[in-house]
């Protein structure tokens, strides 16, 4: 049953998100034509950058579209259909989360892809001059090892995924809360305020916990050390390498799971479909 829920949610979300992808495609084609036709080198670089900026903007728009779709399919007219089917409320919410994340991560992937494309275009336009300069700067400060770069990127992607999950869950909870009297009186402002309150609480606790429990990894050259105190270990290793605290991300993940339960409870006990 979950597969069917996911299929239908992906389909429903596609119908609102496809417009965003279409806009990105237009910007990309426009930028490419501009890059190919312009004779000024600086403008060629700006053309590639335009796609990169458009995709950065699209990341936010897709998140908003996912939130709107959640509101529409759960508490709007279509809520009659969604909440009339014999499935568990938690399955409904998980399916909407997973399908939303699939679209958001797709835009992230395009965003990262456009970054590489832009770097490639810069290299093509300006030659190796810029890349050589970057390499010189890195050499001065010490070129990180392949392992350091790999773990750094991997952890960045994991943190981004967890942060996005928290945002989606916080949005679902705030939208659900805003459909309950008396908060419903505040409409969309209520959703925005509640989202930022929930998100701020999670972020504050994340920062505090990361300081209190600096558990994580320190990556230096070809060694990865798991430690209960990344600050002390990094200092003991001469201050070099990359330190990655994992406490914050673990808390965020638990917070995302935790935010799911009040949403389920509210839908099962407090929500009235209008």
């Amino acid at each position: 049953m979950f597969g069917k829920l996911l299929k239908n949610d992906l389909k429903a979300q596609w119908h609102s998100i496809s417009t965003i992808f279409l806009c990105i495609a237009f910007v990309a084609v426009g930028a490419e034509i501009f890059t190919l036709t312009t004779k000024q080198q600086a403008m060629k670089v700006l053309g590639g950058m335009l796609v990169f900026i458009a995709l950065g903007f699209a990341c936010i728009v897709v998140l908003i579209a996912v939130a709107l779709m959640f509101s529409k399919t759960m508490f709007g007219r279509a809520g009659y259909l969604t909440l009339s089917i014999p499935v568990k409320t938690s399955s409904l919410l998980i399916s909407k989360t997973v399908s939303g994340l699939i679209w958001i991560f797709s835009v992230y992937a395009l965003f990262i892809g456009s970054l590489f494309l832009w770097v490639y275009q810069v290299k093509q336009t300006l030659g190796n001059q810029i890349l050589d300069s970057v390499e010189s700067i890195l050499t001065i400060f010490g070129v990180p090892s392949f392992l350091t770069i790999f773990i750094g990127i991997l952890f960045f992607l994991i943190s981004l995924a967890v942060l996005t999950l928290v945002m989606v869950q916080a949005l679902q909870l705030s939208i659900t809360l805003s459909n309950i009297s008396p908060i419903s009186k505040f409409g969309n402002i209520g959703i925005i305020v509640m989202f930022f309150v929930i998100f701020l609480v999670v972020q504050t606790v994340t920062t505090e916990l990361s300081d209190l429990l600096p558990i994580g990894f320190v990556v230096d050259a070809d060694t990865v050390k798991f430690t209960s105190n990344i600050v002390r270990t990094k200092a003991a290793m001469g201050g070099g390498g990359l330190s990655i605290g994992i406490c914050g991300s673990i808390f965020r993940l638990l917070a995302a799971i935790g935010l799911h339960y009040p949403t389920v409870y509210l839908i099962q006990h407090k929500i009235n479909i209008k």
């Binding site: 007219r77 259909l81 089917i85 014999p86 929500i271």
Partner: protein
């Protein structure tokens, strides 16, 4: 044998007690008319029965179960307003029902679409209110449900089509199933009702078989007018 049991059922919107300490049972296998003036809580009651309203007091049981995942599997609900997504074509809506309701008969639904002249590939947002109602009826009546809850099933349909729709409902509901229909069009439907539930002022005013209610020659509409004559 009863299909619905409500005890001390209350629901209010702010200070407005729409349902106030209601007790009633409804028999299985009957065609039940739910009657009452505008705003008396018919739709609210139906939404409680279908698990769309949760913050009520008291208890409601359908076949011994609280409205929820289990009851949704055997309850077919036709709300007053359309619930199909704007992007959905008629065939998408049929596929959606086919995905989630094990008692749904896809072939029957497709036949009904044809009968109503609804093209499979037409989008919901391009259809008139009447066409959307026909689509929803096709979907709901293609289920072999134990309980059908129909909220104003002919509200948006012209008088000429009403008789056809009524026949359609009566021909297509599953054997031994119970139908709970709310309507203001009492004259059009009174021939099919076997049981009547009148609600008003938050209370159950009448809950009896049509046979008992009409034995002295009165019609359901006469009784409605008598019961609610003081409303306006």
């Amino acid at each position: 044998m009863d299909i619905i049991t409500a005890q001390r059922l209350s629901k209010s919107y702010g200070d407005n007690n729409v349902l106030n300490d209601m007790y009633f049972t409804l028999p299985k296998g009957e065609v039940i008319g739910l009657f009452g003036p505008n705003g008396c809580g018919k739709t609210t009651l139906m939404k409680i029965l279908t698990g769309l309203i949760h913050d009520y007091d008291g208890s409601v049981l359908i076949n011994g179960n609280v409205p929820g995942e289990k009851t949704k599997a055997f309850t077919a609900y036709l709300p007053e307003q359309t619930f199909v997504h704007d992007w959905m074509r008629n065939i998408d809506a049929v596929d959606y029902f086919n995905d989630f309701f094990t008692d749904f008969d896809k072939n029957k639904a497709l036949e009904m679409l044809k009968k109503f002249g609804l093209p499979e590939k037409q989008k919901s947002k391009t259809m008139s209110k009447g066409m959307q109602e026909k689509l929803l009826l096709s979907l709901v009546m293609s289920r072999k449900a134990e309980l059908y809850i129909l909220d104003e099933p002919m509200g948006g349909v012209d008088p000429a089509t009403r008789a056809g729709i009524l026949n359609f409902i009566m021909e297509n509901y599953a054997d031994k199933a119970t139908l709970l229909i709310s309507t203001h069009l009492i004259n059009d439907l009174q021939s099919v009702f076997t049981h009547a539930l009148f609600i008003g002022g938050g209370k159950v005013l009448i809950n009896d078989s049509v046979e008992a209610l009409t034995k002295d020659g009165k019609t359901i509409e006469d009784i409605f007018k008598e019961v609610f004559s003081n409303v306006w």
